[in-house]
Assembly symmetry: C2
Homo-oligomer: 287 residues x 2
């Protein structure tokens, strides 16, 4: 048996802590890596294979045991709702917090915050399975206050400067936006492709993302097994990253049959050099 745990990822964006999938033992791992469970307000479950959600029962329970009161939003394939209800019913559990269940039933935006959105898209697995795209909203340009004053732009016009407008001065002089502002910081994006077959049509959903997580359960020598089991190879993941114009690729979900993961990296980098292996407990910065 290998020493890797089932899938779970934590993403921080827009001052939110998102939990993506929740395999058995996720709580223990969160403790180990000092991630505060109480900060999670939104959980996304890609599909109902156990290695992606068997830790959810315990996590939802524990949040109640520590008397959470904030809303918790759960985005998951529809059948999970009745399973959870039954698990809570037989235990006579009344959660201490409101749990909102959002069944995944159509592609598109499923969450919106002040500074980011989350979209869901279908991937191609043996059962109903979803990928998630986390994207910061386009940011505003930054006003260079010294320059704006120099050009005589009043502070009341700054909000429009941030949106990119030029300023038409009373004396007929047009202050070009780019003279008094700095470009908006890059709006970052992260795509989680869950468990999936190699399917180039996925590229449309993850086009140009800063970081693409794509499973690579097998190496290319096992491409046929990958296909039969609705999984991908490292090389296939790299082809998706390349075709989608992703900036960086993160491989994961390696079959427990492999103890040495270096060949995954080597294989993928032949196709897409900017590839990394996901390692338990590691934080990856999206930039």
């Amino acid at each position: 048996m290998h020493d890797r745990h089932p899938t779970s990822q934590v993403l921080t964006m827009d001052d939110q802590t998102f939990l993506i999938d929740c395999g058995e033992g996720t709580q223990v791992q969160m403790n180990r890596f000092k991630i505060r469970r109480s900060r999670i307000n939104n959980i996304f479950i890609s599909h109902l294979h156990g290695d992606h959600y068997f830790g959810l029962f315990g996590l939802l329970n524990s949040l109640s045991l520590i008397s959470r009161t904030e809303d918790l939003h759960l985005f998951a394939p529809a059948p999970l709702e009745s399973i959870l209800k039954e698990v809570f019913r037989v235990a006579d559990t009344r959660l201490s917090y409101p749990l909102f269940f959002h069944p995944l039933d159509q592609e598109g935006q499923i969450w919106e915050g002040a500074k980011a959105t989350v979209s869901a898209f279908r991937v191609f697995h043996r059962i109903d399975c979803w990928g998630f795209l986390f994207r910061e909203k386009e940011k505003q340009r930054k006003v260079d206050i010294d320059k704006a004053r120099e050009y005589g732009v009043p502070a009341s016009f700054y909000p429009r400067l941030k949106e990119g407008s030029d300023y038409d001065r009373n004396d007929g002089f047009l202050v070009k936006n780019e003279w008094v502002t700095k470009p908006a910081p890059h709006a970052r994006s992260y795509a989680f492709c869950a468990d999936t077959l190699f399917e180039p049509s996925l590229c449309q959903y993850v086009k140009g993302v800063d970081l693409l997580y794509h499973e690579s359960t097998y190496l290319e020598e096992q491409a046929e097994k990958a296909r039969l089991r609705f999984h991908s190879t490292a090389s296939q993941a790299a082809r998706i990253a390349s075709q989608a114009g992703a900036k960086r690729l993160l491989l994961g979900h390696f079959s427990s049959k492999y103890t040495d993961l270096d060949p995954f990296l080597t294989e993928a980098r032949t196709v897409f050099p900017n590839t990394e292996l996901s390692v338990e407990g590691t934080t990856y910065l999206v930039s």
Copy 2:
């Protein structure tokens, strides 16, 4: 957060490996303590609170992933059956082995092997909850072959000697059983009392057991909290052990609020000296 895991125990008796309860992470702990999952043929779940069964989904799944073919018997409160069916259905899982579900619905013997039996009895928790008594069958006396020959008992009569019969020799001499046999080895017993209120009527089920596991979630200073939450104190567990005439008491299920467990031992030993704390990964011999 304390570093203790939810409940699960492994008992070896009658060449069988029994699993009692299966909290989240049980598989990982079994790996850690080198317990072979494949040897388990019977699983007993006391009740449907998550800390006693959330690891079961993953374990049943994994046994299928490693292509188990032997029958597996699961004894648990009835509602678990439909939960498991739904979990397997939504994952499109067909187990590689036959899983027999035995709903716990009446007290008495629920399992019988060549050399042991298992009985279930109701305990007193907030929801339907069961204790289990594991008991070796009465063993046969051992023939002292030298003595038997000396007294002229033919080998064909040995099976009856083992059952305790005297031998009526042809010459009219009666060979007393105890002259040619040694006493049967002690038939050992272990009782698992699950999560329960202090309830002296439990003593009838666990009378004279060699080892009694009784929960002690709290210390006596929290007796009222224990009562309200359908749990017991260390002192109450010791009173059960004492009144039942158990030979030895094993305490467990300590609230995570307590980091120092020594007071549990001290408190229980005042009432019942032969008490031990259950420690993760430790093996307790029943004798």
